[in-house]
């Protein structure tokens, strides 16, 4: 069941609980922080902080081999780090789920975020990842639920892109 909560991060957390996703790895992003905090407070969920996003791919696959479902949370800039690692779930037909907070698209302030933001959907599709996208808060829960079921039911890789329009673009001030 994926109700619509005040904060869409609670909807993602609800999917994790519904589908028994018990390991969540991440290189943090402000957009994911409330979700990471929810997972940290849950004794049934192991939260693993990575040093690079690609390690979340191997971690997820190892967890699955041991019988646990997991999800990798990252910012769009991390997707590029994962490319070769994504061969692992692909060739082994291991279900792999990642939830990506987008930068470099809607009202972005930092030019350095734009290249990987533009490249993110193309890179994922190039690696045969099924890409889902949520542009509005009320569709986050159902989109993550659909992506997770796609991954775990069909033994494929799935990514959910959370749009910057929905998350909100931070405007930076000098000084």
């Amino acid at each position: 069941m994926t109700g619509i909560n005040k904060d869409w991060r609670n909807d993602i957390y609800g999917v994790f609980k519904d589908l028994n996703i018990t390991m969540v790895s991440h290189v943090p992003d402000a957009g994911h922080t409330p979700l990471i905090n929810l997972c940290e407070k849950d004794n049934e969920i192991d939260v693993v902080t990575l040093t690079t996003e690609q390690d979340g791919v191997g971690l997820s696959c190892g967890a699955y081999a041991g019988g646990r479902k997991s999800a990798l949370l990252m910012q769009s800039s991390g997707v590029g780090n994962c490319i070769n690692a994504l061969a692992l779930p692909n060739i082994c037909r291991i279900p792999f789920l990642t939830i990506v907070s987008m930068r470099g698209e809607w009202g972005e302030f930092i030019p350095w975020q734009v290249p990987m933001g533009l490249g993110t959907p193309k890179v994922l599709e190039a690696m045969d990842i099924k890409v889902f996208r949520a542009d509005y808060k009320d569709e986050v829960g159902s989109t993550v639920d659909a992506a997770a079921r796609f991954a775990f039911n069909t033994n494929r890789s799935a990514a959910v892109l959370l749009s910057q329009k929905m998350i909100g673009a931070k405007q930076f001030k000098n000084g």
């Binding site: 690609q54 390690d55 033994n155």
Partner: protein, 189 residues
């Protein structure tokens, strides 16, 4: 310098039922397969740098099994940050054995960073894996077996090996889905 193939075979001889073995890309996979086909083995043949995080995920999911990763210095150097992740999300059932031949033997024996100034035992210790040591004598395999089965992990052992090419010993299948499902069947049963 240790002759890696018989050394790995010695460690895996009379392996216990609670052991599952993972190997990183390259010679390590041929090494473990040379010790005999076993459903409890999973060997990487690609995805360089991913064997340590994979072994961590497996160890976290199966706390009652002992998880042993054999991998090379090249694979390890590609994902040094994963050693810090292992140290900070510790699993007491994981042993990483780095078969360190100081070279990329499979591609023509180009030297790795460990042929230069880098020391993986010190990197592991500095990352927070206190149970880390280096083995240079073949007679020390029993010490490694003790670490694998009985010591509190995570542990990282550097085995200094000769840089020589060894015969390829192929796994049961090159198809990853066949390999992982076979491996997983050894965990379910």
């Amino acid at each position: 310098m240790i002759d890696r193939r018989p050394f790995v075979q010695k460690i895996l001889k009379n392996r216990k039922d609670n052991l599952r073995v993972v190997s990183g890309i390259g010679t390590s996979t041929w090494d473990i397969m040379s010790a005999g086909d076993n459903k409890g083995n999973f060997g990487f043949i690609g995805a360089m740098g991913q064997s340590i995080p994979f072994a961590l995920g497996l160890a976290k999911s199966q706390p009652d099994l002992r998880i042993l990763l054999f991998t090379g210095d090249g694979d390890t150097l590609m994902s040094l940050g994963s050693i810090a992740t292992v140290a900070n999300h510790p699993v007491n059932n994981l042993t990483i054995v780095v078969l360190d031949n100081e070279s990329y033997v499979e591609t023509g024996s180009q030297p790795t960073a460990t042929a230069g100034k880098s020391n993986l035992e010190l990197i592991a210790k500095g990352s927070g894996i206190s149970n880390s040591y280096t083995v240079t004598n073949e007679n020390d395999y029993e010490k490694i077996i003790n670490t694998i089965y009985d010591e509190e992990g995570p542990s990282l052992i550097v085995v200094k090996c000769q840089a020589k090419a060894t015969p390829l010993v192929f796994p049961h299948s090159f198809d990853g889905s066949v390999s992982i499902n076979r491996f997983m069947s050894s965990i379910k049963s």
